[in-house]
Each structure stands twice: as C-alpha cells, then as structure tokens.
Symmetry: C2
Subunit: 371 residues, 2 copies
C-alpha cells in the first residue's frame, strides 16, 4: 500500500495570541500527512518534530536522497501504520521549512520579521498546530508522539489539551530545559550572532548564506556533540584518523572531526540561522510548570496516558529528567496514567531517531491499547 | 612561613628533538617555584598544569585579584606543604605564559612561528620540563602531580621517566583522549579559525585581539561547559534568569548564560588563540600507548606508584577512563603500583581545582608514604 504522502500549507488569518502577549495576525503552517483520514476523522496520529526536523517525517520526494526523518517508524505496515492511521506532522511555527518564521514577511511592514519576530513557547507552537486540526475538522486524535523538542510538545499537549488524544508519547525529552542544554545552545547563539555573514540578522536569504555561515555550523556542531554523546562516539569513531587536507592538516583530523565538519558545514545549506536562534530560545524557556508554577500542578492536568521513553546514554536530556516526571505522576496518584521505559541505547540522544527497533514493540503495544 | 614564590625563565640553546621529528633549536621555559630547595635537592615536587593554566600555581602577585590556580592545595602547611617541599610548576611548552609558543620568535626567520610552530605531544612538553630539572641540577623528585592535561603529563612521566619520581598522581585525566573530548575541542578549533579577528593566525598581539576574539571565547565556552558539567550546573544555576541588556535581550539570559558569557569573553584577554589551537591538538593526540602501540605495553614501564584520582561527575574525562588504567595495571600484575580513588564530586571536571578538600587527605597520605 502507498504511503499517500501529501505536503500542504494552511494559511490562517485569525490572530494567534502568544504567551508573550504578542499576536501573530496571520500565519501559515506547512504540514505533511500520510495514510488516509477515515470518514469520522477518528484515525489521526500527530507527530511532533525536533529542533532541526521538519514536517517531512516519512516517505521520499522525487529525487530525494534521504527519506523523512522518521521514515523507519511511519509507513504502511510500520510501527505507526499508515494503513490504519492518518498521520499529521506540522512544521513547527518558527521553523524554516514553510511555516511562519523570523524570515517570513511581516504583513504590517511588508518586510521580513527578523529580530522583530516574537519569541515563541512550546505552548505557542502547539497552539498553532491545534488551529490546523480545527481547520481540518479534526477534534480528537488517537495519539501525539514526539522526541526531543517533539517530546516537549507531546508533554505540552498532555497537560494543556489533556483529552485531545487518547494517548501521549514523549521520548528523549524533559519537563523543563536544564542549564546543561541551555549552555550547549549558548554556543550556537554566540557563534551565530558573532558570524559576520549573519549581519546581525540582516543577511539575505540565498546562496551566500547557504554556503558560508560558520556560526550556524559551529552551533550545529555543539548540537551534534550532544546528540551523539560519548558512548556512541567511542563506538563510531574511536581515535581513528580521517584524511586531511590543506592548511589545517597541521591539526590533523580525527574521524569524529570529519563527521562534525561534514554535518555541521552542510547544515547552513538547509537551515536558517534566525530560525535556529528562535528555536533554541523556545527550547531553553520550555518549562512544563509554566502557568501553574509547580510541575506537579501542571501534571495534575494529565487525563490520558502519558508514556515516557528515555534512552540510557542520552546526554542532552538525561533519563533522570523523564524519571522525575514519572515520579511526580506517581506522587500525584496518577500511576495509572503514566508509563516509563528506559531504552538501553547506543546512540545517545539520537536513539529516538535511529534505534527505532528498540522501542517499536513498546509503541505498538501502546497503540494497541487505544485501538 | 613564607611561600617563597619565585617566577623565573630558563633559556635553552640545546635543541629539543620533538616526537614529530621537528626540532626546536632553542626554547625557553617559564616556571615558578615555592618553598626552598634543600641541600641535596631531594625535596622537589613537580606540579603540571592544565589547558588554560600556567606556571602560577600558588601565591598571589602584588595587586593580583586571584591567587594561583592551585593555591588551595600548595603552600605553607597546605596539602603540598612548601615548608617541606620545593615545588616547581612550569608553563607548558606551547602555552602562552612565557614558555616558547606559536607566537614566539622563530630564530631562523626572526618572525613569530604562528602556524609554523611544530605540533607538540605531551611527551614533548614533559621532555622540555626534564631539561629544566637538569638545568636546575635536580635528578630526582618526590612526586609529579597534575590534573586534566596536567594528569596526562603525570601519566607520561610515570611511563617515560618511571624512576624519576617516587610517586605519580594523575587526576581527572585519561590515557588517551576519546572522541568526545576531541569533539568538544573541535568547537574551539572551528570557532577560532573562522573568527575574522584571528586572520588565519596572522593577527597582531595586543589590545584589538585581547578585546575582540569571539572565536576563542566560543571555544572557551565549549570547554567551560565540559568542565562544569550538568550536575554542577543544576546546582549552581538551575533555571534562574540573569539581568538582560540590549539587542539580545530577546534571547533572555539565564544565569548559566551569563556565567558562560562572563568567563568566555574575558578569556581572550589572557589567552592566545594560536596557543589554544596547539594545546587542543596536543591534548587530542595524547595517547599513552604511543611508542609501544598498546596501552598495557606502555603501562608495563611503570615502576613507582601511580595514583589515579577521578571525579564522579566529570563529563570531560569520565571515571571509566581512569578505571581502565587501573584495570590494566592489575592485569599486568602491577596492583602494588596502582591506587585508584573516585571522589564523589559536585563540580564536574573542575573538581580537581575546587574540591581539594575531598582529596587532600588522600594526597597527604600518599606523600606520607614517600617521606
């Protein structure tokens, strides 16, 4: 059976009131769907993407080298079975793959927002997605699933829209971003803002930027280091040397350096630096206790099952951070509404993307429960 | 009693043959001593410093705000008691505090070496120090002690000069730098080399550089993150906000961000970017098994006690890395020549600098043994 991939854009002219007090008078959401919406619109699963991800979660466009970021998880006969479910993944508000972002045109001025773009919270990002479901006539979904920043969204859904889904699955994430993750993002923020090519945010879209933006590349490098982690690096790279070239041969090149260079310097070709800054901020200020001051008060809102999945060698969002959520749920007497599974992983934070086999059966069982 | 601090420079005109095959025809070593050398020169303790450290390990110069980096450890009546011992700490070759470094004048050309400076190994750094002791008429020392890159040196001494000291103490270090630490250094290397003010290494010493070198600052930031680590950051900063100012107020400022900014942006005022690149390289290529191919073959050279001290929450050089050394020593039947202690620390990698109280008694006992 076909994945039935559809990539669409929804435009909204009703204002979006943001947590900051600011208002987006109009905005758009780029999104992708897989499978077929059934007649009573009751077979929907929502997928939430991470920092550098996009709405393109599965399938492969014509001539595309790599498929969507969770293609090993979503598709006909796969864990999230598109023969059964209608899957929706939105590009997060603020991201640079078609939804409204800092480089979008501000209607009032007819110029790009740039630094005038409002700071967004995870709640804002989720709120915009809720408008999309409303627009599509979808009032209820089977599940909300996400990892990392997508897991923050899943958690946010479970607290702020506690009966919207039958079940919520949050992976490799946290209830509030710790200083460690904020510090790693700080490298990106500082590297981007000091990059002359960034021009204090006044850069022009286009080739120049796409080819030479070391600030964003260095920021990405800090991210990659946290996503891969020490164990996985030992296994993948050890102390092997890569081929060297040119002036910096002096500094040799270990395999791990080559990996970082390759992935970091390609990143500005696909990602926008202002979006990166704004999304870092969104992640940094994420705190599920906001609005109710204390995390237990927030988690008291949870009404459907919240499934937490951590990865043993995740050094961005440590397993302890998800265990805290589980523990609070138990203290609240909500042990029936929470499950926690720590996957013995080998790929650090990235495990939620690459070690799907290790949690696939677990997720299948969760989905079986709500069939 | 007085610390009897002396800051000196020794110049050497005998060539130093480096592991790379290159030769430094002449070089100098800046060093500091504390206490008094006894008549038979038998009361010496060698201290080795870390990446950004210097020969100024203890005491306070006139008008100096902060004392030497291990002042809480070295001094009259302190753990390393200068009433008893004559303590020597050299500025590492390649570092920028007075020893020969990339910004030193190359005699042949009468210009600064810059990128023509040879890549140094830890063995080279130690070899230069050995020339200093020879110059001072010191043939044997009581102990060699160091943490982090200083620990690499202590380890190197114990393997390459196995009867030079009565005892060797290596803290918060590793027998070979793992890809994780190499990756963190990579941020510094890339940030420095893309910094326009670095001018591909052709910058001029002086105010301009000292005031505006974001590349080195960002590199330092990556270091600081690894030195402090997640646990210590949680305790020190939590999610507290700092005061914000100016354009980047938009991106708020958490306390942890303020800490990183303050320390990172002050760093280029005291440290040289070419030295930083070269020292990163020296650390990256450190492998105690070099020369004998396998770590057990290297450790087979050890003839005096090697004391290993790790810190439980060190996320730069993990305790497991020191445990590997201990395990190999035991496999070699050298269990009498190795001790290992893991300190339950709260300050990450920095614990070897700031939690001296937690290992002071242990080190005192080690020194008692060799009195």
């Amino acid at each position: 059976m076909d994945l039935n991939i559809q990539t669409l854009t929804a435009k909204f002219n009703t204002p979006l009131h943001l947590e900051s007090g600011r208002i987006l008078e109009s905005y758009k959401t780029r999104y992708e769907t897989y499978g077929t919406l059934n007649e009573d619109k009751s077979n929907v699963i929502v997928i939430c993407h991470a920092l550098s991800g996009s709405h393109h979660a599965a399938g492969r466009y014509q001539d595309e080298a790599k498929p969507g970021w969770w293609d090993n998880f979503i598709g006909p006969g796969k864990t999230i079975d598109t023969e059964k479910y209608f899957v929706i993944c939105s590009n997060n508000l603020g991201s640079c793959f078609g939804s409204t972002s800092p480089m979008s045109i501000e209607p009032r001025t007819n110029k790009a927002y740039r630094f005038k773009f409002p700071v967004l919270t995870i709640s804002d990002v989720v709120k915009a997605q809720m408008q999309l479901y409303k627009h599509l006539g979808i009032e209820h979904v089977k599940a909300v699933i996400g990892g990392s920043m997508g897991g923050m969204q899943a958690l946010c859904y479970s607290i702020e829209y506690p009966t919207f889904a039958d079940t919520y699955i949050a992976m490799a994430t946290t209830a509030y971003t710790r200083p460690w993750a904020i510090a790693l993002n700080k490298i990106a923020i500082e590297a981007i803002r000091h990059d002359p090519a960034f021009k204090n945010g006044m850069y022009e879209k286009g080739d120049l930027i796409a080819e030479s933006l070391p600030g964003l590349a260095i920021g990405r490098m800090a991210g990659l280091i946290a996503y891969v982690g020490p164990n996985s690096m030992n296994n993948k790279f050890g102390r092997n040397y890569a081929h060297t070239d040119g002036l910096y041969e002096l500094f040799g090149r270990f395999e791990v350096e080559r990996y970082l260079e390759y992935n970091a310097y390609n990143f500005p070709k696909i990602f926008d630096p202002l979006s990166y800054l704004y999304i870092c901020k969104t992640m940094n200020i994420f705190d599920a206790s906001r609005g109710s001051d204390k995390l237990p008060d927030s988690l008291a809102n949870v009404q459907r099952k919240l499934h937490l999945i951590s990865f043993s060698d995740d050094v961005l969002f440590f397993p302890e951070e998800m265990e805290e959520i589980r523990d609070i749920m138990i203290e609240l007497g909500k042990e029936d509404l929470v499950t926690y599974k720590k996957i013995e992983s080998e790929h650090g934070h990235d495990s939620f993307l690459v070690e799907v086999d290790k949690f696939s059966d677990h997720v299948k069982a969760i989905l079986k429960e709500i069939e």
